[in-house]
């Protein structure tokens, strides 16, 4: 590999990694918050789909990307309320509820797309924002500091969510209802209310993840746009040990492996394409196996709360 081409490839790999990682960061950190409260939401992909459509359709009809983002967040919130009602209030089995939510999101987004749009159409995507001074740094500037707002937001979410979980009263309450809801209840914490908050905040972030695909990266909507990214996002929560920083590591590993395999193909490296596309999944499974740390899993995860039990 020649020097300039090698530098261009490195720059390209890192740059692609950032945009690929953004949806995973929103969805996975949202799921960390949700699971910290003791609720597993396997419907992340469905939330991403309906929100991706909401963002796309609002942008298509109003021309406003801001309204598109707002629509995605509201769609995520609505899905979060639905998931909360079913799994927290009605105490339905969380895994099954989540799968139901996924299928609902998949079907509804497809139906709405067919009825309201009809065929693939495009909208403008969020424009890249060159950060003053930082974007002028040689090599690093073009790679890291000329992204759209949703990519910056995804990486800012890591310290923000850490602060929320570790340094605020809301974080303590989320953890307490996820670890021992009966004890939390005994000191006056409204378990269901906190779980509603966790599920809904997670769903709003999953909604933003959907928007980061439809109006952040692609400028369009298509049936099953997420192609299962929501499920990978849930897996990254386990990979990251229920910590935002761990999720960041997982999202970057998965994304850089994907970006790397694309560049290998472009540069003509003699690796069978089918082997190259397996690389991100192989690496992630390997890392998950080596770093699995179930000790951090919320003790009351996947358990509904009934006052007087446990």
């Amino acid at each position: 590999m020649k020097g300039s081409l090698g530098l261009a490839a490195l720059s390209g790999i890192l740059n692609t990694m950032l945009s690929l990682a953004a949806p995973f960061l929103y969805a996975s950190i949202g799921e960390v918050i949700c699971q910290t409260s003791g609720v597993v939401n396997l419907g992340v992909d469905g939330i991403m789909l309906i929100s991706a459509f909401a963002a796309f359709y609002a942008t298509l009809t109003t021309g406003s990307l801001a309204l598109g983002l707002l629509a995605a967040a509201l769609a995520g919130l609505a899905m979060g309320l639905l998931m909360s009602a079913v799994s927290v209030s009605l105490k339905a089995e969380q895994g099954v509820s989540g799968i139901g939510l996924y299928m609902f999101g998949l079907g509804l987004s497809s139906l709405l797309f067919k009825e309201l749009v009809g065929t693939v159409k495009t909208v403008n995507t969020l424009p890249p924002l060159a950060l003053p001074l930082l974007s002028s740094i040689p090599f690093l500037g073009p790679v890291f500091f000329r992204e759209n707002a949703l990519v910056y937001g995804a990486f800012l979410l890591v310290p923000i969510s850490w602060f929320l979980l570790e340094k605020t009263v809301a974080g303590v309450k989320l953890k307490s209802v996820g670890q021992n809801p009966a004890a939390a209840d005994s000191v006056g914490i409204g378990v269901n209310r906190v779980r509603y908050f966790g599920v809904c905040l997670g769903a709003v972030l999953a909604g933003v993840a959907g928007a980061s695909l439809s109006i952040g990266q692609l400028g369009l909507f298509q049936d099953n746009l997420t192609s299962g990214q929501g499920f990978i996002a849930v897996a990254l929560v386990y990979f990251g040990g229920w910590r935002p920083i761990g999720v960041l590591a997982g999202a970057l590993l998965f994304s850089v492996a994907n970006s790397f395999q694309l560049w290998m193909q472009v540069l003509g490296v003699k690796v069978p394409p089918s082997l190259a596309v397996m690389l991100p999944y192989l690496l992630t499974i390997l890392a998950l196996t080596l770093t699995a740390n179930r000790a951090r899993q919320p003790a009351a995860l996947n358990k509904s709360f009934e006052r007087g039990e446990g």
Partner: protein, 323 residues
Amino acid sequence: MRMKMTIAAAFLAAALAVGAVAAPVRIAVIMPSATTDAAFSQSMWSALLSVQKELGGESAIVLKYTENMYNVPDAAAAIRDYASQGFDIVIAHGSQYGSSVKEIAPDFPKTVFAWGTDVDTFGLPNVYAYTAAAEQGGFVNGVLAAKLTKSKKVGVTGPIEVGDAKTYIDGFAQGLASVDKSIAVSKTWTGSFSDNALMAAAAKTHIASGADILTGSSQSVVGSIGAAKDSGGVLWFGTQADQAALAPNLVVASQVYDWTGMLKDILAKRKAGVLGGVTYTLTLDNGGLKIAYNPAYKLPAAVKAAADAAAQGIAKKTVKVDP
């Protein structure tokens, strides 16, 4: 009294005749992606709607579809369900459905099955197979691309290296080489027919490596088109369906699959009692493949003339394209 009976008999005969004529042909199609995918599935669904309209509307042909059948066992269940419900023609629109058709078709000998893209009817009397010589339109697009590239770098994105995705890309590379052998072609396979985000990332990778022309096959290439649109200045060549509406300033031309001729022939053969055993191949010569130039893109006349000459040469077999 006799007069009344005659009139009643006449009404009855007329009603029976009308009933016989009015019985519509029921066609079901199972597709791997959505009818709105701007690519493979949409090409078939558009053709079916067109044939329905031409041959008398819903009173003549009833259409049903099942889309997004990425999962082959689900598709197999849908194929069997439609056959069980008495549909006259069941179209399994995906090369991954071949083994399902092979297994199910013998159980419904009066039902016509059609599947593609492939050429194998499995020796079954009620199975038609169809394919597209995608390399032909790929060659023409390649000639256009070779005339328009400035960087002499062209990027290609596809799902997996099989079927018409591969033959289109191989034809495209041959078209490029026929004009200028120095043009570099880099290919990326994402391993997925549906991952738009990865397809967009693949396109951005090509653009970052200097490509100023992109093309690709499968429904997920709309992601690549989005990436081309964002980059500004990178041109796109489509296949399977006319993709000009997705990026009117960037799409130069699209190879369009037109299945209408094949569908009408299957209907005619069925009416004549032939339920299968025939293979169809869409080509530039038989009109199954068409090059749709984007009217919004100002294509230089000399470039279009070169592409038209290539298309005519392929049709007349003076230009050879390897599949």
